[in-house]
């Protein structure tokens, strides 16, 4: 794999505070990479360093094999889509889109058809003469995207671009951006704090915790096999079962039961956590592991049921498809799950 964008040992400190610490990251050409994490985890700072608005305190940033640390933002040629769009309020939609072409000295005669074509592509041709504040949120978002794409940059950086839209519009735009990514073969780095957005859109997701990458991988990898407690809890919902390692693939849980887990490499006696997703818990008795539990609550959630379970010292949540047998609070059940569905990491 040849890296198109590469960060080598990049750190960033503001005064006493370290926001990004010794970061190594490689992005392939044409890849859609999401930077996901809670606010303050350093993901926006990384984007700003890529765009050139912040300098790295140490480390190198490379684009296509060449260092770009010394380049000011206006010479990096990356398309940036900002939070709240950053459209110029004193310019019309067309002028906004023409701005990067104007800055690159593209002749007026060429600018006009390019702007028109770009706006037509996102169905905004008829709004070319409007001011940004006369557009809806979704339309503003499309203008911001068009403005960042019109000069065909090598990389598109997006900073929470959909954060200000309502849920329905957000989902529409997610598909639209994915479609653009595929059609134009763009390299996109996408910052978000919304895990479902990251899961929907990305080729790979880098999950950030306090300035470091907690895990990087495809949506399936980070969801099904979280490497640590942070990722397990941050992405989706999970049951975390604390226990002590008894053998190569055996963990004794705090309620006394011993379960089989995938080979994890921890020495016997280590304290670990076992993560198992609620939808992987079953009540039909199939699976490598069994726990006796009592149903403490049944919550109806439309397409599925959530069961709250007490298994001795452990509390579990299970997610069951509807249509299974009727369950009642107080009922005793056997909870089972496959060893392969467990992830084990240090407590």
């Amino acid at each position: 794999m040849t890296a198109f964008i590469e960060l080598r040992g990049v750190s960033k400190t503001f005064g006493q505070v370290t926001v990004v610490e010794g970061l190594n990251l490689e992005v392939r050409k044409g890849e859609f990479l999401s930077l996901l994490g809670p606010s303050g985890s350093g993901k926006t700072t990384i984007l700003m360093m890529l765009a050139g608005f912040e300098g790295a305190t140490s480390g190198d940033i490379l684009l296509d094999g060449e260092k770009i640390d010394h380049l000011p933002p206006y010479r990096r040629g990356m398309g940036v889509v900002f939070q709240n769009y950053a459209l110029f309020p004193h310019m019309s939609v067309a002028e906004n889109v023409a701005f990067p072409l104007e800055m690159r000295g593209v002749p007026k005669s060429e600018t006009r058809p390019r702007v028109k074509a770009a706006l037509d592509r996102v169905q905004l041709g008829h709004l070319a003469d409007r001011r940004p504040d006369q557009l809806s949120g979704g339309q503003q978002q499309r203008v911001a995207l068009t403005r960042a794409l019109v000069y065909e940059p090598k990389v598109i950086l997006m900073d929470e671009p959909l954060g200000a839209l309502d849920k329905k519009l957000r989902e529409e735009m997610q598909l639209e951006i994915r479609e653009l990514h595929r059609r134009l073969g763009l390299t996109i780095i996408f910052v978000t704090h919304d895990q479902s957005e990251a899961l929907t859109m990305s080729d790979r997701i880098a999950i950030f915790d306090a300035g470091k990458i907690a895990q990087i991988g495809t949506a399936g990898e980070v969801y099904d096999h979280p490497h640590n407690r942070f990722v397990a809890e941050f992405i989706g919902e999970t049951n975390l079962l604390d226990g002590v390692v008894k053998g190569p693939a055996a963990v004794e849980l705090t309620n006394g039961a011993t379960i089989v887990a995938p080979d994890h490499g921890y020495a016997a006696g280590s304290r670990v956590s076992v993560s198992i997703r609620p939808e992987r818990l079953r009540l039909d008795g199939n699976g490598d592991n069994r726990l006796q539990a009592t149903i403490s609550d049944v919550v109806y959630q439309g397409d599925h049921l959530r069961l709250h379970l007490d298994a001795g010292a452990l509390s579990l949540v299970a997610r069951l498809e509807r249509g299974a047998a009727e369950r009642r609070t107080g009922e005793s059940v056997t909870v089972s799950f496959a060893a392969a569905d467990c992830s084990v990491f240090a407590a």
């Binding site: 050139g52 206006y74 800055m103």
Partner: protein
Amino acid sequence: MNAVSARQRGRAALLIAPLVIFLGVFFLWPLWLMVDVSIRNDAIGGAFPRTAELIGSWDGEAMPDAEIQAALVEDLRETPQSTLGAAVRTLNSQVSGFRTLMGRTANAARDLEDGQTLDLVEVDDRWAEPRFWQAIQTSVAPYTDRNLLAALDLERSDTGEIERMAASASANRLIIWRTFAIAGSVTVLCALIGLPYAMLAASVTGWKRNALLLAVLLPLWTSLLVRTAAWFILLQNEGIINKTLIGLGWIDGPLPLIFNRLGVVIAMTHVLLPFMVLPIFSVVSAIPKNLMPAAASLGARPLRAFWRVLLPLSMPGLLAGSLLVFMVAIGYYITPALVGGPNDQMISSVIAFYALQTANWGMAGALGILLLAVTTVLYLVYGRLSRGGAPTGA
């Protein structure tokens, strides 16, 4: 629910009424009186009440009819000598010859016995000339534009056409021009300092921003008189500025900084700078912080980004600030009076001179109308601008 009960309405009106009455008596009425005094024309109309009533219908060419002539004779008989004297002097200043003409006619009128009529042309054949009658006709009108015209160095000729006064007669145009020139230079200076200052204050945060804003607000809270006195102290020949410069050996003798244009412009710039900084600051600090990075990411160098994005977006503030500074500056009195020389007095000084020294309220009022009119127009533009800048504001 838009219905407002009559009681609510009555209560609101009752709350507002005292201020409406107060401002009516002590603000609007005085302004009206000032307008009135500058256009009212009592001196001559008061001396010739009967003539004034009739002469309006005269066609201005042929000899006025007997009725008008009789009214004039009656006025000359009845009006007290002192009132008549003042009116005749004014008439004489417009058309020379009136003094002897009126004197002779008045004597003849007084000698007249009841029931007799006087043939005016027989008393003095100048009555056959329409120009004397025309002068009376225009002078007895209840209102005159004489003062207003004089405020612009204009006057009416004998034939009633508007023409320029002799260059030596008045200097109002010069002073109006000077007022605009001083206010204009102060506005430009304030903009040159205020625009970067406000942008700087908007670009920094924390204590730096607070310090920069405090430096603007502190003078605003300080008495205007104190600030002018301070400049008086700094700028005088033995003042700190001159002493420092001499001490540094940069100059040999004191620079003339006070009682001249330079001093007035420096002191007024200092006094009015906050009015420039604050509107610009409020506009610039409301500009979204990500627009300049956006421009840079789209390929704009810092100077171009400033020119294409930050400056156009700051324009409403700059415009509002400039209007405000200019509007306040043209009405300035204290600062030019204290740190200016005789050649730096602005229109307000001339108004004060007419009203306080010579009791010529007609001229004071006429120049006042001029100043008021310019200020009002600027204020209306300013109001429209600041509304346009904040379309969501009620």
